[in-house]
C-alpha cells in the first residue's frame, strides 16, 4: 500500500534576483540568481568551491530568512510552489553532507519516523512508510538499531530514508553519496532515480563527482537532466542539458576545480619502487569502545584477525564497504590505538628506532616517524594560527627559529596558504583545512617527512585542484621511499596512486592486487575507470619488481635517516617521471607472483 513513494508530484521553485549574504560577511555568497525549476526537473547545481551551492539548497529548504536557522541578508524573491520557502517546509526535504548531525533520534526506526510525526501522520501510516523507505535504501538492520552504532554510510542511508519518508515534492541533496562506498553510492543513486521516476518529485542536487550522476560513467544512473552553474558572489552563469553545458563550459569549469566527466585531473606522478616492510599488523582484533550509558550494549568487535603490511616506497590503500573497520585498522597501523589482541610492530628502519609495538611509542617519537591525517582535519589542529600549526612540528623537533621559519614559509607557499598564515585553522574552507592537515603531518619530522604517512579519506569532498596537489604530494613522498597508507573510497585515487590494496570486509582483511588492473569484485563503475585509465592516463606503477620501473632509485630501505635534500617528500622539484603505460600495466599473472614474493619476504622479516 504505502510504497516509498506514491504519486506526489513535483514542486516548482522560482528565484528572481535572489541573493544571500551571511551575517558578518562583506561579500555576497550569491547574488542576482534568476532560476526557475519546473516540477519534476532534476537539476545538478555546479560551481567552484565557495560558490554558495549549499547556501542555495538551504535557502530552498526554508532554512534562511527571518525565522530560519541561518542568519544573513536576503534580497530578491524565492518561492517554492508560489510560497516563501520557509512556509513550504514539509514540501521539501534536505539531505546534507554530514549524516552525523542529521540524525535526531537514538534508534533507526524512530529517526525515520521523525519527519512523518512532524507532518502529523497516523501511526500505522508512519510505520508503513518507515519500513518501505528503509527497504528502499537497503538499510540492513532492524528498526531498533541504535543510530550511534551505524557506520557513516549506513547513517547516510538512514538520513535519506528519513527524508524520503516525508514524500517530499522537492528533494534537495547536498552530496548525498559522498560518504558511501561504491556499492552504497550506486544503490542510493538507484533509489533516487527510481523514486523520482515514480513520484515526479523535483530534485536539486549538489554533487562533486559529476560523472556519477550525469551518465558520464558506465553504470551510473542518469540522475539529472539539467545542469545549472553558479558563480561565487554571482548568479547563474550556465544552464542547460548536461552534454550542452559540459561541451561549452567544461574546460573553464575544470580549470576552476570542478569535477567534469572526461576532464579528470592527471597528476604527474614520480615512480617509486616498493622497499622493505615498515609496519606489520598481525592477527589484530579490535573492539569498539564500550557504549556510554547504563542501557548501552556490549562493545562490538570491529576487526578480527586482521593482517596488513606497510611498505616503504609504496602506497597502500585500505578499501572496503562502509563500517568494515578501515578507520580502525588505520588507527592501529598508526600506533594510535592498541589492538585487543595481535600485534602492530615496527619493522625495518622503524624497528631500528624502537622495536616496541607502535601503540607503546611515546607520542613525540611516534609523531616524528608516523604521521596521521584524520578524516576531519579540524580534529588535529592544536594551535591558534595556520603559521603556528605548521611551526609546531619543527619546533618540537628542536629546529632553530630560522630553520622553522624557512620550513613554514616553504609549506605555506607550496600549499597556497600564504595569505592565510595568521588565520585560525578552524576558519579555513574544507580544502584549505585538508591541505593544512596534510602539511602539519609532513612538517613534523626532524629533517624530513615521517617514514609512514596514514590518511583517512584524504580526498573526501575536495575539488580537482586540491585533489591533484594531494596526490602529487603523496606520490613525491612515496618516491622518497616513504610509506603512504590511505583508507579511501575514491576510485580515481585508487587508480592513480595505490600500489597495493588491502580490502577490509566484515572485520577481516584480504590483500588485493593493485586496483589499476581488473579487480574481480569491482562494479561496473570501477571497470569503467580502469578502462579509462588504460586508454588515457598511465596509472600509477603497480607493484611490479623495481627493475621494471623507470625513475630514480630510492635510497636504500634500511637507511635510518635519509638526508633532507634527497628524500624530503616536500621538495617541489623531485624528479617527476611518468610511468610508461606498458611498463605500468602488469600482466595478469604478475600480481599473483608479486603477492607470493611479498608473502615470502614477509616471512623473512619475521
Amino acid at each position: 500500500m504505502s510504497g516509498a513513494g506514491a504519486a506526489a508530484g513535483g514542486a516548482r521553485v522560482e528565484l528572481s534576483g535572489w541573493g544571500w549574504r551571511h551575517t558578518g560577511r562583506a561579500s555576497w555568497a550569491l547574488r542576482g540568481v534568476d532560476l526557475v525549476v519546473e516540477p519534476g526537473e532534476r537539476v545538478l547545481l555546479l560551481g567552484p568551491s565557495g560558490a554558495g551551492k549549499s547556501t542555495l539548497l538551504h535557502a530552498m529548504a526554508g532554512l534562511t530568512g527571518d525565522q530560519g536557522a541561518i542568519g544573513g541578508d536576503e534580497e530578491g524573491r524565492l518561492r517554492v510552489d508560489g510560497r516563501p520557502a520557509a512556509a513550504a517546509r514539509g514540501v521539501s526535504a534536505l539531505v546534507g553532507q554530514d549524516p552525523e548531525s542529521q540524525l535526531v533520534m537514538a534508534r533507526a526506526g524512530d529517526d525515520v519516523a521523525f519527519g512523518p510525526e512532524n507532518l502529523g501522520l497516523a501511526r500505522a501510516e508512519i510505520w508503513a512508510r518507515v519500513r518501505a523507505t528503509l527497504d528502499a535504501v537497503g538499510f540492513a538492520h532492524g528498526l531498533d538499531r541504535p543510530t550511534a552504532a551505524l557506520s557513516g554510510g549506513e547513517k547516510q542511508r538512514l538520513v535519506l530514508a528519513g527524508a524520503l519518508a516525508m514524500r517530499p515534492r522537492l528533494l534537495l541533496l547536498d552530496e548525498p553519496t559522498a560518504n558511501l562506498d561504491r556499492a552504497g553510492a550506486a544503490l542510493v543513486r538507484g533509489v533516487l532515480a527510481d523514486l523520482l521516476e515514480r513520484t515526479g518529485a523535483t530534485m536539486v542536487l549538489v554533487e562533486h563527482r559529476v560523472a556519477e550522476v550525469t551518465g558520464g560513467t558506465a553504470g551510473a544512473a542518469d540522475l539529472v537532466d539539467r545542469v545549472v552553474v553558479v558563480e561565487p558572489g554571482g548568479g547563474v552563469v550556465a544552464d542547460g542539458s548536461p552534454a550542452a553545458v559540459f561541451a561549452r563550459h567544461g574546460r573553464a569549469l575544470a580549470e576552476r576545480g570542478v569535477w567534469i566527466p572526461g576532464r579528470e585531473p592527471r597528476p604527474r606522478l614520480p615512480a617509486a619502487a616498493p622497499g622493505g616492510v615498515l609496519v606489520e599488523a598481525a592477527a589484530c582484533t579490535a573492539r569498539a569502545p564500550a557504549p556510554l550509558g547504563v542501557l548501552g550494549g556490549r562493545p562490538a568487535t570491529v576487526l578480527r584477525d586482521a593482517d596488513a603490511v606497510v611498505r616503504s616506497g609504496c602506497a597502500t590503500a585500505l578499501t572496503g564497504p562502509n563500517g568494515a573497520g578501515k578507520s580502525t585498522l588505520l588507527g592501529l597501523l598508526a600506533g594510535l590505538a592498541r589492538p585487543a589482541s595481535g600485534t602492530v610492530a615496527p619493522r625495518g628502519r622503524l624497528a631500528e628506532v624502537s622495536a616496541r609495538p607502535l601503540a607503546r611509542w611515546p607520542a613525540r617519537r611516534l609523531a616524528r616517524h608516523v604521521g596521521t591525517v584524520f578524516q576531519h582535519a579540524e580534529d588535529q589542529f592544536v594551535t591558534g594560527t595556520v603559521r603556528d600549526e605548521l611551526a609546531f612540528g619543527p619546533r618540537r623537533a628542536g629546529l632553530g627559529a630560522t630553520e622553522t621559519a624557512r620550513r613554514v614559509a616553504d609549506l605555506l607557499e607550496r600549499l597556497r596558504l600564504t595569505g592565510l598564515a595568521d588565520a585560525h585553522p578552524f576558519t579555513l574552507s574544507g580544502g584549505e583545512k585538508r591541505r593544512l592537515s596534510v602539511a602539519t603531518a609532513l612538517s613534523a619530522g626532524p629533517e624530513a617527512a615521517p617514514d609512514v604517512l596514514l590518511l583517512d579519506e584524504p580526498t573526501f569532498g575536495q575539488d580537482t585542484r586540491t585533489w591533484t596537489e594531494l596526490v602529487e604530494l603523496l606520490a613525491d613522498l612515496r618516491a622518497a621511499d616513504r610509506a603512504v597508507v590511505m583508507a579511501t573510497h575514491d576510485d580515481l585515487l585508487l587508480d592513480r596512486l595505490a600500489d597495493t590494496e588491502v580490502v577490509v570486509e566484515g572485520g577481516r582483511t584480504r590483500a588485493a592486487r593493485a586496483p589499476g588492473g581488473a579487480a574481480p569484485a569491482a562494479g561496473p563503475a570501477a571497470e569503467a575507470t580502469a578502462t579509462d585509465s588504460a586508454t588515457r592516463t598511465p596509472p600509477a606503477p603497480a607493484g611490479g619488481p623495481a627493475a621494471e620501473r623507470p625513475g630514480p632509485q630510492p635510497p636504500a630501505p634500511d637507511a635510518p635517516a635519509p638526508d633532507a635534500t634527497a628524500s624530503d617528500g616536500l621538495t617541489p622539484d623531485a624528479p617527476a617521471h611518468r610511468a610508461e603505460p606498458t611498463a605500468a600495466a602488469p600482466a595478469p599473472g604478475a600480481g599473483r607472483a608479486d603477492r607470493g614474493a611479498r608473502r615470502a619476504s614477509r616471512e623473512e622479516d619475521r
Binding site: R89, M105, A163
Partner: protein, 267 residues
C-alpha cells in the same frame, strides 16, 4: 493527543520478519518495563515526601522498601556496582559532615545520611532503567510536557555519545601530533584545554546542524503525531500508588514510634 491508558498497540501493517517498534524485544526486568512517567512520578513523590522530615526512621523505612526494587531493575554486576557504590560513599560523607559540624548529634547525622540514600536510590533506579526516547514519549504523552523542549532535549542526548567519540578522536589526534600529557601538569592542562575548546567548537556546530536538520524535517510546522505509544499499564498505577502507600506508612510508623521529626525543629 494523549492516548488513554491501555491503548492497544498499533495495527502491525508489515508482515515481514522485522518486528514492529512497539513489538521491540521488551526489557525483561519489571522496573525497566514500567512507564518512565510512572517511575519519574514515584521518584518525585519520594523526594517530596522525605525532604520535610529529618529523622532516620521515616527515611530508613522508605529506603528499606526501595532497595529490593534493585533486584527488579535488570541491572547486574559492574553496572549495578558503578551506579550503586557511589551512593553509600556520598551518604557517609554527608553523615560525617553533619556529625562533625551539625548541631543535631549522631541521630541528626544518621538521619541526613539515610534521607539522602532514600531519595537517591529511587531516582537512580528510575533513571537507570528508563530509555531516553521512551522517557521523552512518556513525558509528552502522559505528563503533557510541551513537545518542543522534550524533543530538543532528546536530540541533544543523542549528541552525548557522539561527543564521547569525538573526545577519543581528539585524544588520538593529539597523540598523532606528538602531544601527550605526560608527567608535566602544565602541559597536561594545556592539552586538556585545547581538547575542550575543539570539542566545544564541534559541539556547537553539530548542534546547529542538528537544529537545521530538524527544521528541514518539518519540525515545528504543526501538531505532531506520535509514532510510539507510551502505554500506561496497571503495574504503573500500582508503582505510583505503592510508593504513596509506603511513604504514608513510613510517616505513620515513625509518628507512632515517636521518632518523627520535621525539618527545622531539630533539638
Amino acid at each position: 493527543m494523549t492516548a488513554p491508558p491501555g491503548t492497544p498497540p498499533p495495527a502491525d501493517p508489515g508482515t515481514g520478519p522485522d518486528p514492529g517498534p512497539a513489538a521491540a524485544p521488551p526489557p525483561r526486568a519489571w522496573l525497566a518495563r514500567a512507564n518512565p512517567a510512572a517511575k519519574l512520578l514515584a521518584a518525585v513523590l519520594v523526594a517530596a515526601g522525605l525532604v520535610p522530615v529529618v529523622d532516620p526512621v521515616t527515611s530508613g523505612l522508605v529506603l528499606a522498601a526501595a532497595l529490593p526494587l534493585a533486584a527488579f531493575s535488570g541491572l547486574r554486576g559492574a553496572r549495578l556496582a558503578a551506579l550503586g557504590l557511589p551512593l553509600p560513599a556520598m551518604a557517609a560523607a554527608v553523615g560525617l559532615v553533619n556529625l562533625v559540624f551539625g548541631q543535631d548529634g549522631p541521630a541528626g547525622a544518621l538521619g541526613a545520611a539515610v534521607r539522602l540514600l532514600a531519595i537517591a536510590v529511587p531516582s537512580v533506579l528510575a533513571a537507570a532503567t528508563s530509555d531516553p526516547t521512551d522517557t521523552a514519549d512518556a513525558l509528552v504523552q502522559r505528563l503533557r510536557v510541551p513537545e518542543r523542549p522534550a524533543v530538543a532535549v532528546l536530540a541533544a542526548l543523542r549528541l552525548v555519545p557522539l561527543l564521547a567519540a569525538q573526545w577519543r578522536t581528539l585524544g588520538a589526534a593529539r597523540r598523532a601530533r606528538g602531544l601527550e600529557a605526560g608527567a608535566n601538569p602544565a602541559r597536561a592542562l594545556g592539552v586538556l584545554l585545547g581538547k575542550v575548546f575543539a570539542l566545544l567548537v564541534r559541539a556547537v556546530r553539530t548542534g546547529t546542524s542538528l537544529a537545521m536538520a530538524m527544521d528541514t524535517r518539518a519540525f515545528g510546522t504543526g501538531p505532531r503525531s506520535h509514532a510510539r505509544p507510551s502505554r500506561w499499564r496497571p503495574a504503573d498505577t500500582a508503582l505510583v500508588a505503592g510508593t504513596a502507600a509506603v511513604l504514608c506508612a513510613a510517616h505513620l510508623v515513625s509518628l507512632a514510634a515517636g521518632t518523627w521529626q520535621p525539618l527545622g525543629f531539630g533539638g
